[in-house]
Symmetry: C2
Subunit: 351 residues, 2 copies
C-alpha cells in the first residue's frame, strides 16, 4: 500500500508507492564514456582549460606519470562570472540580476575512466578537501550568497564529460530549494529548540531500518521521505552548519562513508548514473536578513541520488515526487550488498 | 552574457545562460514507440484495463472502426486510491498520511501512434473537456485537496506508453510546487490588489518579445524566467482561478492555441518529448485554511515543457534551473516556425 510522507526539513510531501516497478533494467553496467583522445581534463591537455585555480601535485607520481593529482579550473562556458558587477533591475513586473557568481570544475583524478566507487579513500578525501578549500576561498567575495557543489556521473545524471569531476556554482541569491530547507530547519528549531537534522540522526540511528552505514563521525541512511529510489543522505553526527569548518579527521571519516555508499549503490543498482550534492549554510550577509543562518539553523550534509527513474510531468508540475521504492527496502538491500562485498573481500584474502 | 531572473509568481530564480549549447542533436525525429500488439489502450483490449470511468463514443465512426473516441480508466498501478480511509500519523519526527487519492488515465484516441501536434483541434477540445469533467466529478470528494492533470509524450518526458494519453493524480495534500505558486500569487495580490497572472498576460502582450501565439481567449508565451529551453505557458486572457469553470467556447479557443504551440515545438525541435501540465486552484477546504484560495488568488494555466536537457545535480540540489536558451530567442524561433508552417500550407493549397 502506498503512503504520503512529509520530509520534516523541507516540508515536501512524497508519495511512496511500492507497487510500481522501478522501470529500469538492472542487468547491465554500461559506462558513459566521452572519448579520451580529446578530453580537456586528461593530462597533456592542460593548456586547453586555462589557468589552475587550485593545483595539487602528485605525491609519489600518478600511475600514468601525471604531474598533478587534482586540479580546479574555471568552467569554459561558465553560467556565472565573478568579473561582472552586481546589478539589480526591474523590468515591469520582472526582476533581474546580472549573472555574477563563480563556476568551477574540480578535476578529481588524472585518470579518465574512474568511477566514484573505484576511487581509493585517500582520493575521495582529497576531493572533499578541495571542496572545502574552494568554499573557504570564495567566501571572501561577499556578493556570493550560496555556494553549491555537486557531482554528475553518468549520462542520466546530466554529465557531459566522463572524466571524473565535480562542479562548484556560487550565486548572489539563495536558490529556492535551499531556502525551503533553511526555513523548514529554522521553524523546527524555533518550535523545539533543537536542530531538525540532529533529531534526524538520532531517530535514524535508533530505528535502524533506513540505515546504510556509519562510523564514528558520519551516518548514511535512506531518508524517510526519499524522493528518488535508493537516495542516500550522509550527515555528520556532531552538529555543524557549515561544511568549510570540517577537519582533516572528519574528512577522512566522511571519505570512508561516502566510498561505502558509492560501492553499495554501484553493486546494487549496476548503473553508474549518480549525483552527489553538498548542502550547506548560505554565506552570511553583511546586513542580517531572514536567510542569514545562525549556528543552530542548519546542519550540512551530502545527498547521493542514483538516477534510475525519469521525472514526468507530475514531478515537474507539482514538485511532488513519486518514488516506487520504499527507503526501508532500499536500505536493507544496500546493507545486504555491503555485507556481500565485505564477505567476498574476506574470502579473497583467505585464499 | 548570462542573467539571473526571478519568476514573479513562484519566486524561483533561474540562470539564463545563452552561451551554453542546448546539448542535443536536433537532426532526427525518433518516435518513442511501445508495441501496438499488446497495447492495453488500443481498441480490442478494453477488457484488460478495468471499468470505464468516462466513455465518449465515436461520433461518425473512428477511422479504425473503434466504438469509442476517448476513454478514462483507473490506473492499473495507482499511486493513490480513493477506496482508502484518510489516516494521519506521526512516527517520531515524521508525518505520514495514507495514500488516499485518485490516479486515472485519459486515453485520448483509439489510434496508437498519434502525437499531440497531429491531433485535429476537435480531438484536443475533446481531451480538454474530459479533463474538465473529471475534475468536476472528483471535486465531490472533499478529502482531495489538489487535482493535477499532466501529459507525458516521448520517453524523455517520463512516458512509459506511447499510445496518446494524459493522467490525473488527485492528492489529499497540496503539493509543494503548487503551494509555492499559490503563496507567491497571493502575496502579489495582497501587495498590489491585482492578479499576478493578469499582469503577466498584459505585460507579455505589450512587450511581444516572448509571445508565441494568441487568439481571442488565450495567449501563449515563453515565460521570462523559463526553467527549460522552449518552455511555453498558455493562459486564459480573462481571469479565472479554476480550470473546471471553462466554457465550451473557451475550450475551443484553448484547443486552437495548444495545437499551434504543439506544432511550433514539434517542427522547431524535431523531438517528440514534451510534458503538458495543467495548474489550477486547489479544492477549497471545508474549514478555510491558508491554502484555500479565493477568486483573485490564482489564475489557471497550462505549461508545455519540451524535454531537451537533463536535470543535473545542480537542479536537484538547489531547485535552481540552468537554462541555455533565452525565452526571447525561443519565442522568436517558434513564431518563425509557425509562419513557415502556415506559408507551406498556403502554398500547398494554391497548387
Amino acid at each position: 500500500m502506498s503512503d504520503l510522507r512529509r520530509d520534516p526539513i523541507s516540508g515536501n510531501w512524497v508519495v511512496i508507492s511500492p507497487e510500481e516497478e522501478a522501470g529500469v533494467k538492472l542487468d547491465r553496467f554500461v559506462r558513459f564514456e566521452t572519448p579520451r583522445e580529446d578530453c580537456p581534463f586528461c593530462p597533456g591537455n592542460e593548456r586547453e582549460t586555462g589557468h589552475n585555480i587550485l593545483f595539487i601535485p602528485s605525491e609519489n607520481g600518478e600511475a600514468d606519470g601525471s604531474s598533478w593529482s587534482l586540479r580546479v579550473i574555471p568552467n569554459r562556458l561558465p553560467v556565472l562570472r565573478t568579473e561582472r558587477a552586481l546589478e539589480r533591475e526591474g523590468i515591469g513586473m520582472f526582476d533581474r540580476i546580472t549573472g555574477v557568481g563563480a563556476h568551477e570544475i574540480i578535476i578529481e583524478s588524472p585518470r579518465h575512466d574512474l568511477l566514484l566507487h573505484e576511487f581509493p579513500e585517500r582520493r575521495i578525501a582529497r576531493v572533499l578537501t578541495a571542496w572545502r578549500d574552494r568554499v573557504l576561498d570564495l567566501s571572501k567575495d561577499t556578493r556570493l550568497r550560496y555556494i553549491s557543489i555537486f557531482r554528475n556521473q553518468g549520462r542520466r545524471s546530466g554529465a557531459r564529460m566522463s572524466h571524473p569531476h565535480s562542479q562548484l556554482i556560487a550565486t548572489p541569491v539563495i536558490p529556492v530549494g535551499i531556502r525551503g530547507e533553511l526555513s523548514g530547519a529554522r521553524e523546527y528549531f524555533e518550535y523545539k529548540e533543537r536542530c531538525a537534522f540532529c533529531d534526524l540522526v538520532d531517530q535514524e540511528r535508533e530505528e535502524k531500518v533506513r540505515l546504510v552505514t556509519q562510523n564514528r563521525g558520519f551516518v548514511a541512511f535512506c531518508p524517510f521521505a526519499s524522493r528518488n529510489p535508493f537516495e542516500v543522505w550522509i550527515l555528520p553526527r556532531v552538529h555543524s552548519h557549515r561544511y568549510e569548518t570540517v577537519s582533516a579527521d572528519e574528512i577522512s571519516d566522511l571519505a570512508e562513508v561516502l566510498k561505502q555508499v558509492a560501492i553499495a549503490l554501484a553493486e546494487s543498482l549496476l548503473i553508474p548514473d549518480v549525483n552527489v550534492v553538498l548542502k550547506t549554510s548560505p554565506r552570511p550577509k553583511p546586513r542580517r536578513d531572514q536567510w542569514t543562518t545562525i549556528e543552530e539553523d542548519f546542519h550540512w550534509h551530502i545527498e547521493v541520488i542514483p538516477r534510475i527513474t525519469r521525472f514526468s510531468g507530475y514531478e515537474l508540475a507539482t514538485g511532488m515526487f513519486v518514488n516506487p521504492t520504499p527507503p526501508e527496502s532500499a536500505a536493507a538491500y544496500l546493507r545486504d550488498t555491503l555485507f556481500e562485498v565485505s564477505r567476498r573481500r574476506d574470502d579473497a584474502q583467505d585464499q
